[in-house]
Amino acid sequence: MSLEQFKDRNVGTQNYITMDTGKTPEGSMCKFKQVVKRTFKGELFVGLWVTMKAMLKALFANDMHTVKYPFEKLPISPRYRAIHDMLRLLESGNYRCIGCGLCEKICISNCISMDTRYDEEQRKEVSEYTINFGRCIFCGYCAEVCPELAIVHGPRYENAAEQRAGFSLFEDMLTPIDKLNLQQEYDGFGAISPNADENIKKTPLAY
């Protein structure tokens, strides 16, 4: 199944066919005619052909719908909101989070807790950052409010863990430094729209 098909949630645009059931026969002659018509119309063979076609297509035209789940996965929407990811800057490899605290402030289930301090160069650094996933409702406000696109929702929806703290530490969510080249930009909530450049207008100087 392609991503486009999967994302098509517009019920009604699919090709539904209304069945023409005809009129209910009145009188025994009409009933008899209907029985004869249905007997020799071969509708049963149409049904047989439908299943045979489905089987041939499934076997030889690669139209099998089964997804062997742990081995194969369906593509998920880029707007899917699973376990959070903390992204890094591509150039320097530093984490993008500037410790502004907006995500902690906006979180409606109060599950983000963070602490910051000044490092030796008097720059703000995140000393502690955890998300309590027992409370998180995956609303996406944190990703939407983040000015640096630092906290985003990732694609990891298989979030069973042996401990409560699984996935929830800053280091767990941060892109590993050796996998920086694999880091994906997030397209969902709070991301820059594709036509962001066109929407930028110069601030008028004269009034």
Binding site: M55, M64, T66, K68
Partner: protein, 344 residues
């Protein structure tokens, strides 16, 4: 052709018949088990699924897993059930299915090689019991097989079971007359009840198959055969969507398994009868003939699965209406016309 062959054949001994019976039991039980795998696979493909995939290559060993499960499951007998009848009922289904197969030609004649101790040199016949009323015997045994579901449903102190057995009675009353009348016309043409005579009658190639002379009887027999084996358009006895599991509601483990071995053995029997009576049986001599009949049997088996994937099933009252008011008059007309043609 067959007459000269029979003269040249060695004497059929009791030992040969016993060996044949063991072979039929072993191979047909295994085939019935494999039939469940084939059924699951074909139904899955027709619904664009993969079916069993994890036990062995392409799920081929699924029957082994199923067998282990069935054998090790607890054999539960409900508290208020009539215990004796509850225990006997599945045996009736399985036993009658295999007894019916004793009068049907399965696998070629062969002689056990001499080097095997004790049974070396024994001639093993193609038909375990070559009786001259073969067709009547087989149909009668398959009909007796329905006592299994009937008694099972009534003995288990379960209302779904009662409904299942009531439906068994309805089904039994409906199809039996059609089976008998539909196969009567070919019997009149051939003038014999023996499978060997049917086979010889159609031995002149495809043009001599009885299906061309008796297309109506073929269709009627096929419909009645579906009812006889409880296959989908008529699977009223244990339709899960309506009556939980019908007559098999309280059964578990190998007793439940025996019902299914019986059902699949019956499917194979109906496929064999349809192939021998209407589709020419063994057209060619030797190995090629056996390949032909195996192909025909496989086609009918596949047809049963195919129909199950395609068609909805009907209500019990519709089955009765259909069999008594539509199929029986057509069967009678068919017999009448056949008789007139034979006389004229």
């Amino acid at each position: 052709m067959e007459a000269t062959l029979v003269e040249n054949l060695p004497q059929v001994t009791a030992l040969g018949v016993i060996i044949k019976a063991v072979i039929i039991l072993a191979v047909l039980s295994a085939l019935a088990g494999f039939g469940t795998f084939i059924e699951r696979k074909v139904l899955a493909f027709m619904q664009r699924r993969l079916g069993p995939m994890h036990v062995g290559p392409y799920g081929m060993l699924q029957i082994a897993a199923d067998g282990i499960k069935l054998f090790t499951k607890e054999d539960i007998i409900p508290q208020n059930a009539n215990k004796l009848i509850f225990m006997i009922a599945p045996i009736i289904t399985a036993a009658t299915a295999f007894i019916a197969l004793s009068a049907v030609p399965v696998f070629p004649d062969f002689t056990v090689p001499e080097f095997i101790p004790l049974i070396g040199g024994t001639f093993v016949p193609s038909i375990a019991a070559d009786i001259n009323v073969g067709i009547l015997f087989v149909l009668g045994m398959m009909a007796a097989g329905l006592y299994g579901p009937l008694l099972a449903g009534m003995s288990q102190a379960n209302k779904w079971g009662i409904i299942g057995s009531a439906r068994t009675a309805i089904q039994f009353l409906s199809y039996e007359v059609v089976t008998g009348l539909s196969i009567l016309a070919p019997i009149m043409l051939v003038g014999s009840l023996s499978f060997v005579d049917f086979n010889d009658y159609q031995s002149d190639g495809i043009g001599s198959w009885l299906i061309w002379q008796q297309p109506v009887a073929f269709v009627l027999f096929l419909i009645a055969g579906f009812a006889e084996t409880n296959r989908t358009p008529f699977d009223l006895l244990e339709h899960e969507a309506e009556v939980v599991s019908g007559y098999a509601t309280e059964y578990s483990g190998m007793r439940w398994g025996m019902f299914f071995i019986g059902e699949y053995a019956n499917m194979i029997t109906v496929a064999i009868i349809a192939s021998v009576v209407f589709l020419g049986g063994y057209d060619a001599e030797g190995v090629l003939g056996w390949l032909f009949i195996i192909f025909k049997i496989a086609f009918f088996f596949f047809l049963m699965l195919w129909v199950r994937a395609s068609w909805p099933h009907i209500r019990p009252d519709q089955l009765m209406w259909f069999c008594w008011k539509v199929l029986m008059p057509i069967a009678l007309l068919n017999i009448l016309i056949t008789a007139i043609v034979i006389l004229v």
